[in-house]
């Protein structure tokens, strides 16, 4: 499989785009026509061939440009990457996990050669050739977590496990759905989820925590989460909210198809071998409504989900103000036909009836 990397931006002129291949493999987050919180965990082992579910750390056409966007964000605000002092070993664990996975899953793009603790890492898409000593941070240009997450799409939280809880004690966070690592670092599982409405009362976090603490090295897990974002902006941080906030009010019925994006997080969970920490990558995928409705099943389903979503969730996810325009647009792409079970379209899904 060869990947042609897009030359695109996630800010200012927003030249981001999805190729037809990227649309077809998009991790659409709804497997039914309605949505409510659940502990929607499943093993992160396999999925349909060619989709983000079938590799450990998906590398796609946005890789090079996303890493460039991360570098811009970090240059402006180095606090987006932080690690409390006791987390360095977990950083090495994460570096090893990502390097080995990428080298095995994409041998034409990445190579890792290990001779004892003397390692040689080659990252062809980013033009990196690095020899270093595993475990010795002075042999890398950054700490181990920062080094490897500057070369891996998605945000990364690294969670320490103690006192029957998970503690967000390290992270690289530049493509977040409006939360601040700098504020939340050091919090436990219940604390960093404190602002989420409803889910505490539903017992979601107690059950999720129990599940996550039992993940072992052989059984990584995953779940999908989602929100809506105006423009293909990765850095929707609270830090920069006063800069990107005005863009949220630019949606009209004319531009909603191009400017309004469904933002999906593929969250995966990995037990790390030396530190017993839990790596929590949060990989962000963006698709605008126009591309999304090119898959008739997804147009129908997203319409029904957003139309029927409780107001509280639309508020929390930050798109209540644009919901009427979004739902109106999507209604034009929902002919009322039944949708098949699962995420991707099947032969049972009817082609779209022209509106």
């Amino acid at each position: 499989m060869t990947i042609r990397f897009n030359d695109e931006t996630f800010r200012d002129d927003y030249t981001f785009f999805n190729s037809p291949e990227a649309i077809a493999r998009f991790p659409f987050p709804f497997d039914r026509d309605d949505y409510m919180y659940s502990v929607n965990m499943e093993p992160h082992k396999t999925g349909p061939e060619g989709t983000p579910f079938n590799v450990r750390f998906d590398v796609d056409e946005h890789y090079v440009s996303e890493m460039r966007d991360r570098e811009i964000t970090l240059t402006e605000d180095p606090l987006r990457c932080q690690s409390l002092p006791h987390m360095e070993l977990a950083g090495w664990d994460l570096l090893e996990l990502i390097m080995r996975s990428k080298a095995e899953d994409y041998p034409e793009l990445f190579e890792l050669h290990c001779d004892g603790d003397r390692w040689h890492w080659i990252n062809r898409p980013l033009g990196i050739d690095q020899r270093f000593t595993f475990g010795d941070a002075t042999t890398l240009p950054y700490g181990p977590m920062e080094y490897i997450t500057r070369q891996a799409q998605g945000d990364f939280a690294v969670l320490d496990q103690r006192e029957d809880n998970l503690w967000m004690d390290a992270g690289m966070v530049t493509s977040q759905a409006d939360w601040s690592l700098d504020f939340d670092i050091g919090m436990n599982f219940f604390e960093w989820h404190a602002p989420v409405p409803k889910a505490h009362e539903m017992g979601i976090f107690q059950r999720a925590l129990k599940f996550l603490m039992q993940i072992n090295q052989d059984n990584p897990a995953r779940r999908l989460n989602w929100t809506m974002t105006v423009n293909p902006r990765l850095d929707t941080s609270p830090e920069n909210y006063h800069k990107w906030g005005p863009e949220k009010r630019t949606i009209t019925s004319e531009n909603v198809g191009q400017k309004q994006y469904l933002r999906v997080e593929l969250q995966t969970f990995w037990r790390l071998p030396r530190s017993n920490a839990l790596a929590f990558p949060i990989r962000c995928y963006l698709i605008n409504l126009e591309d999304l409705v090119s898959v008739p099943k997804w147009g129908r389903r997203l319409h029904r989900v957003l139309r029927d979503l409780p107001d509280e969730l639309a508020d929390y996810k930050g798109f209540a103000v644009n919901r009427p325009v979004i739902v109106d647009y999507l209604s034009q792409h929902d002919d009322g036909a039944a949708t098949s079970a699962g995420i991707y379209p099947t032969a049972d899904d009817a082609p779209r009836t022209p509106a």
């Binding site: 919090m187 604390e191 404190a194 909210y241 009010r249």
Partner: protein
């Protein structure tokens, strides 16, 4: 007696129970203003708490000093402000042992600052207790410029560092010792809601 009942809120919003004696373990007791009354109440319930205690008081215009001194703590000290106390408090935390208990009493701001300093010094959060007395003014961190504004009593308020108008969230960081303030008119610049007194 200025005890406040706080509204139910999200899980990071600190809650303050009355101080509970952990007996005669080594202790640092730090109180500001009417927080002194919480220490006096604690001592009345169990005087042994003072046996190995370093009691520090910031009067903040109150006159509780003589009664606190009379409790007979192993060490007693009065300081004009938390800032003036920084080095002494830092040394007390550095000298703390595994069994040392920290008792805090006073305003939300005092409790937040003293807790953050104790956690940074390596005290486990289980060793820290706090009882609220006095003002409900908040320490607010601006999520945009990271500056902390002390003594915030209104919502929204103006960041004393960058000048943005911020709304007062209940989301609280123990590490920073501050609530989070977020630009209130980010999406519609200039469209600022009416200013209200913050509620407990």
């Amino acid at each position: 007696m200025t005890q406040v009942t706080f509204s139910p809120s999200i899980k990071t919003r600190p809650v303050y129970a009355p101080l509970q004696s952990q007996g005669d373990a080594p202790a640092i007791l730090l109180c500001e203003g009417d927080g002194a009354l919480a220490i006096l109440d604690l001592a009345a319930r169990d005087a042994s708490v003072l046996g190995r205690a370093h009691l520090i008081h910031i009067p903040a215009g109150t006159a509780h000093g003589p009664r606190l001194r009379a409790l007979g703590a192993r060490m007693y000290h009065e300081a004009p402000s938390f800032e003036a106390l920084a080095a002494r408090y830092g040394k007390a935390l550095a000298d703390a042992t595994m069994s040392t208990r920290l008792y805090l009493a006073g305003t939300e701001g005092l409790i937040a600052k003293a807790t953050a300093a104790a956690l940074a010094a390596g005290l486990p959060h289980q060793a820290i207790q706090a009882e609220h007395r006095g003002s409900i003014a908040r320490r607010m961190q601006c999520v945009h410029c990271k500056g902390v504004t002390e003594e915030v009593t209104t919502d929204p308020f103006t960041c004393s560092h960058c000048g943005l108008t911020l709304f007062v969230r209940d989301h609280f960081s123990r590490r920073l010792g501050a609530f989070q303030g977020v630009c209130v008119d980010a999406e519609t610049p200039g469209d600022v809601p009416a200013t209200q007194e913050i509620r407990p």
